[in-house]
Symmetry: C2
Amino acid sequence: MNIRFYNARILTMEEGKDIFRGQIFVSGSRILFVGTDEEAVKYWQDHPDTVIKWDREIDCGGNLLMPGFKNAHTHSAMTLMRSKADDLPLSDWLNNQIFPVEAKMTAEDIYHLSKISIMEYLTSGMTAAFEMYLTPYSVADAFRDCGFRCVQTSCVNNFSQSVELLEDYYNDLNGRDEYNSFILGVHAEYTCSKELLEKVAELVHKYKAPFWAHIQETESELMECVERYGMSPIQFFDSLGLFDYGGGGYHVVWTNEHDRQIMKDRGLFAVTNPGSNTKLASGIAPIKEYLEWGIPVAIGTDGPASNNCLDMFREMFLVTGLAKLKNMDASSVEATEVLKMATVNGAHAMGLMDSDVLAEGKLADIIMLDLYQPNMQPINNIQKNIVYSGSKQNVLMTMIGGIIRYENGKFNIGEEPSEIYKKAEEISKRIYS
Amino acid sequence: MNIRFYNARILTMEEGKDIFRGQIFVSGSRILFVGTDEEAVKYWQDHPDTVIKWDREIDCGGNLLMPGFKNAHTHSAMTLMRSKADDLPLSDWLNNQIFPVEAKMTAEDIYHLSKISIMEYLTSGMTAAFEMYLTPYSVADAFRDCGFRCVQTSCVNNFSQSVELLEDYYNDLNGRDEYNSFILGVHAEYTCSKELLEKVAELVHKYKAPFWAHIQETESELMECVERYGMSPIQFFDSLGLFDYGGGGYHVVWTNEHDRQIMKDRGLFAVTNPGSNTKLASGIAPIKEYLEWGIPVAIGTDGPASNNCLDMFREMFLVTGLAKLKNMDASSVEATEVLKMATVNGAHAMGLMDSDVLAEGKLADIIMLDLYQPNMQPINNIQKNIVYSGSKQNVLMTMIGGIIRYENGKFNIGEEPSEIYKKAEEISKRIYS
């Protein structure tokens, strides 16, 4: 498919580049051209032999095209438990509400339940998810069948999956199809023995690969590790060589200067999950400090059982809002920084180096935001409007790899929403009855 | 107009009443019937002589009807400054960014600028706003012309408006039209002299009327009052007799047990504004404590320059989320409490006793929420879904006084959105150039 967007405002998210009016040409899965109308004229002059038959030419009506948001941490199939286990602290929630239900979920259940989250990602302008769940193959199938970009890591721990499976996932899912890839990781320090982590460290060195895990989400997780090993999870992982090729942590709420020094030295990413950390009362991550240290921050929703909303607009507001509250300083963490976290940094954390900005040759992972809804008016400062007052309601279109998967409220994901909901309801009835 | 809604889920918000499936009949501005399909049959049997010609019969497709949300604190015309003055502390923001701009705004500007907020309220399922701004008559005109319910209070202070004007507003705006009413109030302790407040207290006693103000929003506001009068604003207002007929405060972030005792004794409402308090780093209000004391809490967005989003879904999440963080207890402030704050308590705070619940004889201030968006699926617990994962995108319809003002993304407010945006842009250019 060849698609031309015109009459658009464009935010490429390239460093130092402001919003301008212009056009984008998409050919197949990639961006052929991004520029002003004058630059488009020049493009045709410079390519006199190029003939493109446009399948669609889309008048953007002055609305905004920008890179899709990257959801840098989630567990998509947990739609099953959404609003089933709220108002509980993390350990209760996990041990008494989540683990017993997960024991009953099949790979096929997880395939169907993941699709509801994928739909919600599309409504929120996300074009990729950094996923961790129980059955990586069926998760990958769900993302592939919906045409949504997915980077998975494993939730291997003492009780489920194994290091052998982890290596299989790594080899099988990387390069299997155009939508899926896989990064080495484990569930968390508190669910993994030292022996298991040492074996994962061998894989990390064998493949010279980055490593990811839930890290220092709650204070008790931190303190238990300190009691066990005399150091924090970040320090412990690092002592095992797990970060020798980079990677990062999900949550990273409770860190000190020693942890941040390791994060900086190893080039680790901090993926923040403010909605989940708020709802589960885990705490407020030190985002201002990460920025001061030069540690790149990305943003994830976490799963629909903990958040429960999969909405990058809410997360973006919370990243800056909670930093302002934590520091009691309304100038903490500016909107432009937050937009970078939600797009470029997320892509880089996930290894999606071709989905970070809008530029020639990059993947066409593009969203269109409605600037003519009242929450964006008057158009004073578009970047600030997105972070402080943006909403799912502003998402007019979500394109992934050149294919429009969501447009004006309609989904194009290979299956009807009503069918997906019906299957989820059947699974819910079976498991909860 | 006579409108029948059928095939609906209905949440009346009456105490102890769960969601059921049924119908609602609206006749003129009021609700004629709410009940199950069986009760509807019985209604016709009991009213054999009643003949209603339905102007519309709306198939709700299993979606939810509930009372509209009440925005219990806002300054609508501040759309002008949205995203113009972010990332600043309250005093800087107010003195250097807001007051100088407000000095240039005319009553007509305020009329036009208010309409953008009214549109956003409609997109978020709000049916009434508790408004405070510079020119109450032109504000009232904007709300009347859009057909949106408005309760105003005055922002009288040492520098603008006067006690004489306050009394005029009170007499002129109460009963002027079906959409507007007026409640006595002042801007805040820190902008009003004792003499001014004493004169307002005379009005409070003359009309036996409740009294409202911005109260204890920031710690410095509290401490300055303690320095000035040896007591908090709540204690000071109470000492002047301002709360002799009830009322309440906006924000009320920084209160102690003495303040709460007064709030309880005087039957005061606490209107919380968590989005604004977060973005301006003012602090987290003690919502859990208010609930424990039996002090009714309502929810407001505050104005679009401070929040910047006018979204009751975001505010509801923040009310419970910030309470969870403040208390480091994920069980703090349950979702059902929050829904009550956003509907029933808001209506009662604003004196809208006929807009609180869905019941026969009440005003038809009704919204329809889409339960078949992915963020509401599977349908495990609708109340929790609304509070934790609801979004503007779920608002299918907003009806005020029996008239549908917003439906499937289209507005019915007497003027085209493009015209409203154009006027706001002209005003912005004039004032900021």
